[in-house]
C-alpha cells in the first residue's frame, strides 16, 4: 500500500495523543497546578487533533469530512470519527473541571480513558478489517496500535510528571510497556511472514479463475502507465530495504527508549528523561508505520502482476 505521509502522521500522532489522554483520564500522577492542568491536556489534545486533522489531508473533499460521522453503524472510520469527537469533548470538559477545581474527576477520566482506547482500536480496525490486505487483517493489528498508543501515552505522562518536584513514576513500567508493545509488533511481523495473500488463499489463479488451466502470469497491464490503483495499492519495497528499515524502527522505537527507561530506573534519574524516550519512540513508530503500509500487499496487486510488477 502507498504509505501516505498524512496517514502515517495521523495514526502515530493521534495514537500518542489518545494514549496520553487515556493516561490522564486513568489518573496517572501528574504535576498539579493550573499550568499543568492546562498544558498537559493541551498537549494531549493537540497530538490527537493534529493527527485527526492530518488524516483529512488525504481526503479528496475535506470540506465534506463531517459526513464521515454518519455511518457509525457499519463503518469503522465513521465510528472512529464519532468516538474521537465524543472523547475529545468529554476530555475538554474534564480539563475545564481540572483547571477550575484543580481536581481530576476520576469517573469521567476513566470513561475518557476507555473512549481513547476504543478510538485507537477503531483506528486500527480501519486497517484490520481489510480482508484485501492479509497483513493487516489480524487481531494483532489493533493490539499493536493500542499497545503503542498506551506506551506513548505512558512515557509522555510519566515524563511530564518529572516536572513535578520529587514526584517519580515507576520507570520499570515504562520498560515493561515498551517491551510488550514491541513484542506484540514482533509477533505481528512474524505473523506477516505467513499472512501473505497466498496464505489467505488469494493467488493470480484465484483472482482470474484460470488456475484450472495452468500457472497464471501477467503479460500486460491494462494501461502502460500508472493509475490510481497502482499508485495507491501497489507499492513495492525491496526486501533488503525493508530489513534495514525494521532495524531503524527497532533501534529508534525499541532499543533507545528501553535504554533510557532502564537508565532512569536503574539510576532513579528524573523521569523527565522519559520525554526523550517518548520522542525517539515516536520517530521509531513513524518508520514502523511507514513499513506497515509499504509492506502490505493488497489483493488487487494480483491483477497487476503481483509484487514483482
Amino acid at each position: 500500500m502507498h504509505p501516505a505521509i498524512s496517514v502515517i502522521f495521523f495514526t502515530v500522532t493521534s495514537g500518542a495523543g489518545f494514549g496520553l489522554i487515556a493516561m490522564i483520564g486513568a489518573g496517572m500522577p501528574l504535576p498539579n497546578g493550573l499550568a499543568a492542568a492546562f498544558f498537559i491536556p493541551a498537549l494531549a489534545g493537540l497530538l490527537a487533533v493534529a493527527g485527526l486533522i492530518s488524516s483529512t489531508f488525504h481526503l479528496g473533499h475535506p470540506e465534506r469530512a463531517w459526513r464521515a460521522f454518519s455511518q457509525w453503524r457499519s463503518s469503522w472510520l465513521s465510528r472512529e470519527g464519532v468516538l474521537s469527537v465524543i472523547t475529545l469533548i468529554l476530555f475538554g470538559l474534564y480539563t475545564l473541571a481540572w483547571m477550575i477545581s484543580g481536581e481530576r474527576i476520576l469517573w469521567l477520566g476513566l470513561l475518557i480513558a476507555i473512549g481513547s482506547a476504543l478510538t485507537v482500536y477503531m483506528t486500527a480496525m480501519i486497517y484490520a478489517q481489510m480482508k484485501t490486505v492479509p497483513h493487516w487483517h489480524t487481531g494483532l493489528t489493533p493490539l499493536c496500535y493500542l499497545l503503542f498508543s498506551l506506551t506513548c501515552g505512558y512515557l509522555l505522562a510519566a515524563g511530564l510528571n518529572g516536572f513535578a518536584s520529587g514526584a517519580s513514576s515507576p520507570a520499570g513500567l515504562a520498560v515493561v510497556a515498551i517491551a510488550i508493545a514491541w513484542a506484540c509488533k514482533y509477533a505481528w511481523w512474524k505473523q506477516a511472514e505467513t499472512t501473505s495473500l497466498e496464505a489467505a488463499g488469494s493467488t493470480m489463479e484465484s483472482a482470474t479463475g484460470l488456475g484450472s488451466i495452468g500457472k497464471v502470469r501477467l503479460l500486460e497491464r491494462p494501461h502502460t502507465g500508472e493509475n490510481y490503483l497502482t499508485h495507491e495499492m501497489i507499492h513495492v519495497v525491496g526486501r533488503k530495504h525493508a530489513a534495514k528499515l525494521r532495524i531503524i524502527a527497532l533501534a529508534l522505537g525499541a532499543a533507545l527508549p528501553l535504554l533510557i527507561a532502564l537508565g532512569v530506573w536503574a539510576f532513579a534519574a528524573s523521569t523527565l528523561w522519559l520525554v526523550l524516550a517518548f520522542i525517539v519512540l515516536m520517530a521509531g513508530l513513524f518508520v514502523e508505520r511507514w513499513l506497515f503500509f509499504a509492506e502490505a500487499e493488497h489483493a488487487v496487486s494480483l491483477y497487476y502482476g503481483g509484487r514483482e510488477a
Partner: protein, 247 residues
C-alpha cells in the same frame, strides 16, 4: 446508509466470456466516453499529453499468460469492472454513506456529492474496481450504466450498458441473475460461470465464463483418413474411380 440491503429485488450484472474476449479495449473506451459526460463528474485525465498521463476508467482489460503443464502457454484477455457484489465490502467501509447498493436492482453506486474521497472503499475492494478521479477527487466506479438501462430518452434496445452494446465480439452479457431463466443465468449454468476470488467472501454478482479447453498440438486426430495413394493404381487410379462416380 452504508449497510447493505438484506436482499435486492433484482441482481443485475454482467457475464464476461473469457473464451470470446479478444482484448480489444472497446468496452473500456466506450464506457469512458459514455460516462465522462454522464453520471456524476467527468472521468478525467491528468497530464493527458505529457509524460505521465493518468485517467480514471471504470473498466480495464488485463492480459494474462496461462501456462499449462503439458501444452503451450496461452493468453487470456481479462476485462474487469465492478462486480456489484452482494456482500460488497466497499459499501460497508464507507464512512459517509456515499457508497451504497441499490435494493431495487443490486447496483453498487457512489453518490458523488457525499463522497469525501477517503479511498477506503477502493482499499476494501479486492478487484480494483474503484478508482479515484484525479481531478474531481471523488470515487469512481462502474454504475452498470444505471443512466442507460432505465433511460427513457434512448431507444429501448439501447437500454443496456455501453460496454455491452459496444463489445464487437459479444463477449459481454447483461441481465438479471436473480432470474434463473435470464440470459445471464443460463449462460452461467451452461458454461460453468465462476466467481473471482471467492475466498474474499464478496459474493460477486458478475460472473466469468472460463476459456474452453484448447486442442493440444500433439493430440491425435479423430478421423483417420486412408491414403488413396496406396491403393492399387495409386492416386491416378483413385482419380479415375472418383471421376467415374461423378459421371
Amino acid at each position: 446508509m452504508t449497510s447493505l440491503p438484506q436482499t435486492t429485488d433484482k441482481a443485475l450484472g454482467l457475464v464476461i466470456d473469457l473464451d470470446t474476449c479478444v482484448g480489444c479495449h472497446a468496452c473500456i473506451i466506450n464506457c469512458k466516453e459514455w460516462n465522462t459526460g454522464g453520471y456524476g463528474a467527468p472521468l478525467a485525465d491528468l497530464d493527458p499529453y505529457g509524460t505521465e498521463p493518468v485517467g480514471s476508467f471504470l473498466n480495464r482489460i488485463h492480459t494474462f499468460e496461462v501456462s499449462p503443464d503439458n501444452a503451450p502457454a496461452s493468453i487470456v484477455h481479462f476485462p474487469k469492472s465492478c462486480l456489484h457484489c452482494a456482500d460488497a465490502p466497499c459499501v460497508t467501509v464507507c464512512p459517509t454513506g456515499a457508497s451504497y447498493k441499490r435494493s431495487e436492482d443490486g447496483i453498487v453506486l457512489v453518490d458523488e456529492s457525499m463522497c469525501i474521497g477517503c479511498g477506503l472503499c477502493a482499499w476494501a475492494c479486492p478487484y480494483g474496481a474503484r478508482e479515484m478521479d484525479p481531478v474531481e477527487n471523488v470515487m469512481k466506479k462502474c454504475t452498470l450504466c444505471v443512466d442507460r438501462i432505465y433511460n427513457e430518452n434512448i431507444p429501448e434496445e439501447d437500454r443496456q450498458p455501453a460496454c455491452v452494446r459496444t463489445c464487437p465480439a459479444g463477449a459481454r452479457h447483461f441481465g438479471d441473475f436473480s432470474d434463473p431463466a435470464s440470459n445471464v443465468s443460463k449462460l452461467v449454468a451452461e458454461r460453468g460461470g465462476i466467481d473471482l476470488m471467492p475466498e474474499m467472501g464478496t459474493a460477486p454478482v458478475n460472473k466469468y465464463l472460463p476459456p474452453r479447453p484448447k486442442t493440444k498440438p500433439e493430440s491425435a486426430s479423430s478421423a483417420t483418413a486412408e491414403a488413396v495413394t496406396e491403393k492399387p493404381g495409386g492416386f491416378l487410379g483413385w482419380l479415375d474411380q472418383a471421376l467415374e462416380k461423378l459421371g
